[in-house]
């Protein structure tokens, strides 16, 4: 005979869960009582949103399912932004929430909210468990759904009486069988052949690689394929890390803040091989001028992504890794496209990303110094905005799953908690959170969590006393009317100190390297407050709705 809470904890252990990020409260008391002497590690965050982001960061860095736990009502509602963030970036997450007892459901009871209703559009699936006997099966299904196919968050809402009820635990089925859920992993052979024919016959092919490559752990296959045929790779924000940043075939990021050479190459390509991407508006700009001369091949595990935003000539539904493996096995030797690669080399030489050097402290320089010191052997997490774009552009990533950022939802405040989660996934690597002074203040209370648990996250704040990305748009498109984007100065080192965290303020370029070294040398968390040029912009930039080769802030053509 077991309580529901015990069945829950044992089910989590059966799924191999090692860590939960959470915050206790009234209706999850039975679950917390069970966790008290369980071997499951629990990290107490300072706000439930951080629990969801931490579980998400853990999942992205490890490739495993992240788990967070919150109480009903406000606790559950505070998870919502974190769940939506995970949903937009296809991150496997299981969110556990407490609920008022079943006899009070729908009664507007204290701390009641309809969290399954609220999260319906931002979860892959969700459950309200009304019978303790269902708990074991539901947990098993939830992990299966979250981690297979196109991954995503699954929420399990557990009323208090379901946790406390004592029952004889029914056997949990060995295998999950869901009549309505059967993801396709192997691509259709004829489609793969068609795709290969198109690519090998192409004169100006480009690979457009996204988060799907990282999610399916297919970086090795991707780089192998690209190298054998000599095809350059442009990555989306989510795809960064699937090819080493210094690889000769790497074009860097494409799209709104992409490199000029990536956007030129896409625009001139005759075959666009799209892998694990979703033709997001930040990537394509105006869709009908995106890759206007190209036949488009698209591999994705989610059939709904194919043809959603752009017409595709050869769709292949399947897991990126499985499809690329099949392609590699069918590949025949083929000459490299020398003229095309020469042209790309020319663009790369004449249109590099700019890093101003005028003796003042520029954010691009800070990121490049981090890159030089860390040599790709670190996990870099970012917040959202200019800090995120400068990191994506100027840091040289060498490995997949070392770049963790909120792409689809663009959630400010994501970075610090996600960095905490990433540390528990990869304790062997240093973890840096690149932040802005705006976004760090969205979850700055997590200084408490990292201090309390001695989580050695290094926080690099690119402090310009502005909500920088919005200010940039106001400068460029709203006649410099800086409506509510200026922030008063904050001494972040003092805040850190108050939490028992060390830190240093840096005001000139000469202090940058020593600050990053000090952060690395410090055993615990560390804050670097970089006082950067206040009105620095992220360039190049494609204005919203323009074609991606019409960039501003680049080099003259």
């Amino acid at each position: 005979m077991k309580t529901g809470a015990k069945i829950l904890v044992e089910s989590l252990q059966r799924e191999g869960v090692e860590i939960i990020f959470g915050y206790p409260g009234g209706v999850v008391l039975p679950i917390y009582d069970e966790l008290y002497d369980s071997s499951l590690r629990h990290i107490l965050v300072r706000h439930e949103q951080a629990a969801a982001h931490a579980a998400d960061g853990y999942a992205r860095a490890s490739g495993r399912v992240g788990v967070c736990l919150a109480t009903s009502g406000p606790g559950a509602c505070n998870l919502v932004t974190g769940i939506a963030t995970a949903y937009m970036d296809s991150v496997p997450l299981v969110a556990l929430t407490g609920q008022v007892p079943t006899n009070l459901l729908g009664n507007d009871a204290f701390q009641e909210s309809d969290i399954t209703g609220i999260t319906m559009p931002i979860t892959k699936h969700n459950y309200l468990v009304k019978d303790t006997a269902d708990l074991g099966r539901v947990v098993k299904e939830a992990f299966y759904i979250a981690g297979t196919g196109r991954p995503g968050p699954v929420l399990i809402d557990i009323p208090k009486d379901v946790s406390t009820k004592v029952i004889k635990e029914p056997p949990v089925p060995e295998k999950v069988i869901l009549r309505g859920y059967n993801p396709t992993y192997r691509g259709h052979k004829r489609q793969i052949e068609k795709a290969l024919q198109l690519i090998t016959a192409a004169e100006r092919p480009v690979i457009y690689a996204g988060g799907g490559v990282i999610l399916s752990n297919a970086s090795v296959e991707l780089v192998d394929f690209a190298t054998q045929l000599g095809i350059p790779i442009a990555t989306t924000l989510m795809g960064i890390g699937c090819i080493p940043g210094d690889h000769p075939l790497n074009l860097g990021m494409l799209g709104m803040h992409g490199t000029e050479y990536a956007n030129f190459a896409i625009t001139e390509s005759d075959v666009l091989f799209s892998i694990g991407v979703r033709f997001d508006d930040r990537v394509t700009g105006k869709t009908n001028t995106f890759a206007p001369h190209a036949k488009i091949i698209h591999i994705d595990i989610d059939p709904a992504e194919i043809g959603k935003n752009k017409r595709v000539d050869v769709p292949v539904v399947g897991d990126v890794k499985a499809v690329l493996q099949d392609m590699l096995s069918m590949l025949k030797k083929n000459g490299l496209k020398d003229t095309w690669l020469k042209k790309i080399k020319h663009w790369k030489q004449h249109h590099p990303l700019k890093c101003p050097q005028d003796g003042r402290l520029h954010p691009q320089f800070v990121i490049r110094q981090m890159s030089e010191l860390l040599q790709g052997d670190a996990i870099i997490v970012s917040e959202v905005g200019q800090n995120q774009m400068w990191t994506a552009q100027h840091y040289c990533f060498k490995h997949p799953r070392t770049w963790i950022t909120s792409g689809g939802l663009g959630t400010m405040g994501y970075g610090l908690p996600a960095a905490m989660g990433a540390h528990f996934a990869r304790p062997d690597l240093p973890v840096f959170d690149v932040a802005g002074d705006g976004s760090i203040q969205m979850n700055i209370q997590e200084f408490g969590t990292i201090s309390h648990n001695k989580i050695p996250v290094k926080i690099a704040i690119l402090n310009n006393r502005f909500l920088g990305m919005v200010r940039q748009w106001q400068e460029l498109f709203y006649d410099r009317r800086y409506s509510f984007t200026e922030l008063p100065p904050v001494e972040f080192v003092k805040i850190a100190n108050a939490y028992g965290i060390e830190g240093v303020k840096v005001e000139s370029p000469d202090g940058v390297m020593s600050a990053i070294r000090a952060a690395l040398d410090c055993d615990g968390p560390f804050v670097m407050d970089f006082r950067i040029e206040r009105e620095e912009n992220v360039f190049p930039m494609v204005p919203a709705g323009a074609a991606i080769n019409e960039m501003i802030g680049g080099h003259p053509k």
């Binding site: 559009p121 009549r179 309505g180 059939p303």
Partner: protein, 167 residues
């Protein structure tokens, strides 16, 4: 842009209907009509939805529906030969005398049945496709339609083809 009739086989679980309708509203698709009921498979239900849109939009709706875990199969009946019906109940003002006789005449032309007769009104029951019911309602308007209730369209493929779970 034409109406498509989608036949959707779902798990008979709490919340399935709101998952389906929620998906329509948040992705900007309009539901023209909706009918839900049990079906030949125990534990499953069938939802019939009529939605107006171009082929690409309908394809995207169907793909998004297929992603819902509790949805077992989605078919667009419109691509095939099919039978579609809905049922309507119409309460018409019918004073005794000529107008009542005329209404009964109209009803018999449409093969509608009079299912209730009151002192000042009658209730007609009619079964047919959407156009037939629209036509009857329009015709009855001159006598005064007090209340008009219709089910959503339901549909089934002609011949031996079915919208079932498959193997």
């Amino acid at each position: 842009m034409k109406p498509h009739t989608l036949s959707i086989l779902v798990e008979n679980k709490a919340g399935v209907l709101s998952r389906v309708t929620g998906l329509f509203s948040r992705r900007g698709f309009n539901i023209e009509s909706l009918a839900v009921g049990s079906c030949e498979e125990p534990g499953m239900s069938r939802i019939t939805i009529v939605v107006i849109g171009d082929d690409e939009k309908i394809e995207q709706v169907m793909k998004q529906l297929n992603k819902l875990i509790d949805i077992i199969k989605v078919s667009d009946l419109t691509e095939n030969e099919r039978v579609e019906r809905e049922l309507a109940l119409i309460k018409v003002t019918a004073e005794q005398g000529t107008s009542r006789a005329e209404i009964m005449q109209v009803a018999s032309i449409f093969r509608a049945q009079i299912v209730d007769v009151g002192a000042k009104s009658v209730i007609l029951q009619v079964i047919g496709d959407t156009e037939k019911i629209d036509a009857l309602e329009k015709l009855l308007r001159q006598y005064g339609v007090k209340e008009f209730v219709r089910t959503g369209t339901i549909g089934i493929l002609r011949g031996s083809k079915t919208v079932t779970r498959g193997k």
